[in-house]
């Protein structure tokens, strides 16, 4: 119980609130705030559950992409806002910083390691959200026809 609380619930809560904080910066109002927060929490939960690797970042960003596409369709709004706020906690800011500090310290091996890992994280984020958004867009007309055809 203790590990579930400190290992999963608390980080997700923090991610939720941090994303809500960012909605103030990007001028998002009303329900959009909540959607961004839930997106951020969901993404971080998937990232933790999948083991905090590059592949986990890929899965998390795929889930965020799907979630924001669905929410944007429901609210008939551009998807950009929800996507960019929810992805923010996963952007490898730490990677940039550590790569820099190893570079300054002259530790080339660890510098290259961290740099490549950072690039990997960034591309995993981009590809993950890109993939689900494209899939969703391709599947959306069929889904819509199906729900409309139902009596």
């Amino acid at each position: 119980m203790e590990t579930i609380w400190s290992g999963y619930i608390l980080p997700c809560l923090c991610s939720f609130l941090a994303c809500v904080g960012f909605t103030l910066v990007f001028n998002i109002h009303g329900v959009g705030k909540l959607i961004c927060g839930v997106g951020g929490a969901l993404g971080w939960l998937v990232y933790l559950l999948a083991g905090s690797t590059i592949f986990a970042a890929f899965l998390a960003s795929a889930v965020i992409g799907l979630f924001s596409e669905i929410m944007a369709r429901l609210r008939r709004c551009p998807v950009t806002g929800y996507l960019l706020v929810a992805l923010l906690p996963l952007v490898p800011g730490g990677g940039i910083y550590f790569a820099m500090s190893y570079c300054v310290a002259g530790d080339i091996q660890r510098f290259l390691d961290t740099l490549l890992h950072t690039f990997g994280m960034a591309s995993a984020l981009a590809v993950g959200a890109m993939l689900t958004a494209s899939l969703f867009r391709a599947a959306y007309p069929y889904l819509r026809r199906k729900t409309k055809g139902r009596p």
Binding site: L10, P11, C14, S15, L17, A18, V20, G21, F22, T23, L24, V25, F26, N27, I28, H29, G32, W44, C77, P78, T80, G81, L83, L84, L87, L88, P89, V91, P92, G93, G94, I96, Y97, F98, A99, M100, S101, C103, V104, T118, A122, L125, A126, V127, A129, M130, A133, S134
Partner: protein, 253 residues
């Protein structure tokens, strides 16, 4: 119909969309649909992140082109959503040009904005809440809050002081962030310099540029996608350079 005025309205709508942070395909599509709703056959629209070019041919066969440059801008999702809704309304039921002009001009003024202190609060709260995600404790969170508030104040009020060059602004802010974190930890308020610095740097991280780059490439706008990807790499290097300078200055003392 007065095609000059129609063209002006269409270009202004495109600029408004772009400066609120819309994707390229949305700008191009919205302007094209608007012009088509007013009965023009094949309007040509071309947009890259800081320029919109619209060209139409009047029914008499006279071509008109207008280009507008867009300066540096932030992201304003509320304005983007309203602009999108307005464009949809125009396309569904085109109003007279006077009315369209009036509604378009009123849009930025009507859009609610968070007061500055709330934006500053957002800049402070986000790093404070990020620090537990990077393994920080309560004291680190408080340090990150202070750092975030200072960096936010620099971003909001320091435009005259550090100019509007994005690269330089990011570098200065990250230098301030790393220096401040170092200072706070040395004074005994925080536990770990790395955690506090990373949390504060999350405010500057090029998440927006990265997301936009990916969306442009997905939509097939390779030029704009590459522009934004380059922007995100440049921002990341600015963060690295800035925090290196901050740590170096901190290392002297």
């Amino acid at each position: 119909m007065d095609h000059d005025r129609l063209l002006n309205i269409a270009v202004d709508l495109g600029c408004l969309l772009m400066s609120s942070g819309a994707e390229i395909y949305r700008v191009e599509e919205s302007v094209r649909r608007l012009l088509q709703a007013y009965g023009l056959g094949s309007p040509e629209v071309f947009a890259i992140p800081n320029c919109v070019i619209v060209s139409i041919t009047t029914p008499e066969g006279h071509p008109i082109t207008r280009m507008r440059r867009i300066g540096g801008h932030g992201t304003d999702i509320e304005l983007l959503e309203r602009c999108n809704a307005l464009c949809r309304r125009f396309c569904a039921d085109p109003p007279s040009l006077d009315e369209a002009r009036e509604q378009l001009d009123a849009l930025p003024l009507q859009t609610p904005k968070h007061p500055l202190w709330q934006v500053l609060l957002g800049y402070g709260a986000a790093p404070a809440l990020f620090s537990p995600l990077f393994g920080g404790g309560i004291s680190d969170a408080i340090c990150a809050l202070a750092g975030g508030l200072v960096v936010g104040a620099f971003l909001l009020y320091g435009r005259r002081l550090i100019g509007s060059n994005g690269f330089f602004r990011t570098a200065v802010c990250s230098a301030v962030a790393s220096l401040l974190s170092l200072l706070l930890v040395r004074l005994g308020f925080g536990q770990s310099v790395d955690t506090v610095t990373i949390s504060v740097l999350m405010v500057l991280v090029p998440g927006v540029a990265l997301t936009n780059a990916m969306r442009e490439i997905m939509a097939g706008d390779i030029i704009s996608g590459l522009c934004r990807a380059a922007e995100s790499i440049l921002t990341a290097s600015a963060i690295a350079i800035g925090s290196a300078v901050g740590l170096a200055i901190g290392g002297i003392f």
